[in-house]
Structures are given as structure tokens and as C-alpha cells.
């Protein structure tokens, strides 16, 4: 089922089979996107939203020198640009980081869901609030944490998000991102990220090698990143 990971294992919210089928029926088209392709440009007029089925996608803003800051990443099950439903345009670009499979949901179908299934409509609202909670954590990460803490926090968060949708066993998960990607997420240079990764490895907290993250000491890594997963609203 294409929608099986949407809001999976989230606190105080669960989708009935009927709701998942309704959402599934709203998908008008499934596309496979190559890595590093911009799917939505800031300012584009949008009439659909994108459910990420497989792969990793990002939201990013480039500065005047062309340097990129990733302001969000999305994992399978995320409704990447549900915000575009009420806003109709986005203030940032949306791109694939890996090969990604996405489901396109026309805004007209979302209109129908909201009018005919208000409980499912509230769950879509929940999804955008969850994105906002993650944005707050990203602000905290960049505003308060030093380099090693930023990377540790990001890896803990990604592990928790992927575990919630069944893509991490809690200690190890595939992560097809480069150190440059992580530098764009954490506001560091790739040299700095390289040094931090070595530090995390030498402290026996975490190893990131060949697109796989292995967390050796989950408690220690969380402490290093001041990571508290409460904001992810994951059902324990």
C-alpha cells in the first residue's frame, strides 16, 4: 500500500484502513525521480501535493552565493509539500536526495477529503504540525549546538523517524546521503563534517560508512546531541 507509512506509529493519531484506502485513491500518479532533481521550485503555482513513498527528499533554500541550506529532509511516509495545499506556492525548493518514488495528490482530491472525511482532514493537519515541530528542533540544533552535537542530533532524529516507519532497527539504518548533504543540513563545511564523523567513530558513538549509519551507543549519541525525541510524537 502506497500510504502505509503515512503517520505510522505517531502518537494520538492512527489511520483506519478506510482512511488509508481513501488517501490511496486520491493519488493520481506515481513517479520515480532520479537523485538530486528539483521537483518543486519556490514560487511555482501548485495544484497537487507530494507523498513520499520511497527515498529521501529535501527542502532547501540557496543563498545569494548559491550555497545551500537544507531546511528539512523527508523520509518515506512524509507528505512533503502538504503545505502547498493551502499556500499554493512554496517559499523553498523541494528536491530528491536519492532516487525517490512519490505519489501526486491533486488539491481537488484533498478538498474532497476535507469536506467528506473531516477526521482524515485533521490527520493531514497533524502531519503539517509535525513538520513544524521538526522545524523547531532544527532551529534549536543550528542555534544552540556545536558541530558534533548538530550531527549527533541529526543522526538520532533520522534514526527515530526511520524506525517509526520500519526503516531502521533502532541501531542501524541505510542513509544514502553524502557528507556534503550533512554539511548542508548542519550548517558546516564538509571538512568539518568529516572531522565530526571521525570524532563520533573514535568515541564509539556512531559509524557512518558506505551509506549505512550504525549507532554504537544510542544513549551516548543522544546525550551528545541533546536529543529528546518528544517532538517527533512517535508512539512508544
Amino acid at each position: 500500500m502506497l500510504t502505509e507509512r503515512f503517520l505510522r506509529n505517531k502518537r494520538n493519531v492512527s489511520l483506519s484502513l478506510g482512511e488509508r484506502e481513501c488517501l490511496e485513491a486520491a493519488i493520481s500518479e506515481v513517479q520515480t525521480i532520479e537523485p538530486r532533481r528539483v521537483l518543486v521550485k519556490a514560487g511555482d503555482k501548485l495544484d497537487h501535493s507530494t507523498l513520499l513513498i520511497d527515498g529521501i527528499m529535501s527542502r532547501h533554500i540557496d543563498d545569494h552565493n548559491g550555497l545551500r541550506q537544507l531546511v528539512a529532509i523527508h523520509v518515506p511516509g512524509d507528505f512533503v509539500d502538504l503545505h502547498a495545499y493551502p499556500l499554493k506556492t512554496l517559499d523553498h525548493d523541494v528536491a530528491s536526495m536519492t532516487t525517490a518514488v512519490v505519489g501526486m495528490v491533486p488539491h481537488g482530491k484533498l478538498d474532497d477529503i476535507i469536506s467528506e472525511r473531516p477526521q482524515l482532514g485533521r490527520k493531514l493537519w497533524y502531519a503539517t504540525l509535525l513538520d513544524a515541530a521538526i522545524h523547531r528542533a532544527w532551529l534549536f540544533r543550528l542555534g544552540r549546538l556545536a558541530a558534533v552535537g548538530r550531527v549527533a542530533h541529526f543522526l538520532c532524529e533520522t534514526n527515530a523517524r526511520l524506525a517509526a516507519v520500519g526503516l531502521s532497527d533502532g541501531r542501524q539504518f541505510p542513509l544514502a546521503l553524502t557528507q556534503t548533504n550533512i554539511s548542508e543540513i548542519c550548517g558546516l563545511t564538509h571538512v568539518h563534517v568529516n572531522r565530526v564523523m571521525r570524532q563520533l567513530r573514535e568515541e564509539r558513538l556512531c559509524i557512518f560508512r558506505l551509506s549505512v549509519v550504525e549507532i554504537l551507543d544510542p544513549v551516548g549519541l543522544a546525550a551528545r546531541g541533546q536529543f529528546d525525541p518528544t517532538y517527533l510524537y512517535i508512539d512508544q
Partner: protein
Amino acid sequence: MTHLNNERRPETQPGVASAEDGLVILDGPDGVAVTMTAAAAAETGHNLVEAARAAQMQIGTTPGSDEN
């Protein structure tokens, strides 16, 4: 009611600088995480020493002490 005493205060701990792949990495304090070329790092270091000297004169302490 929780009383918030969250005024940001000047850092009293120094940042840690290290060399990596021919570049200088500055970690901390207070979330600072910067990579600079060696020339930029040397100039930044010079600027910091000069500013520290001026700040010490403003409060009447000697360079190297942190008595404020």
C-alpha cells in the same frame, strides 16, 4: 509559574581550534562551528587578540585575565 532567567551571557570558555586537511576548524564556544583557510584563521586570531586587548582596557584589567 516558571521564572525564566534566560539572559544570554558572554562566553567565558574559549573556542577550540584545530587543523584539518589544510584548513582551520573552530569549535565553540556557544555553537560556533566554522571552517577557515589558514590565512583567514590567522587574521581572525589577530583580530581577536586586538579586540581582547581593547576590551580589557575598557574595563581596566590586564590582557589574559578574565575578571569581569
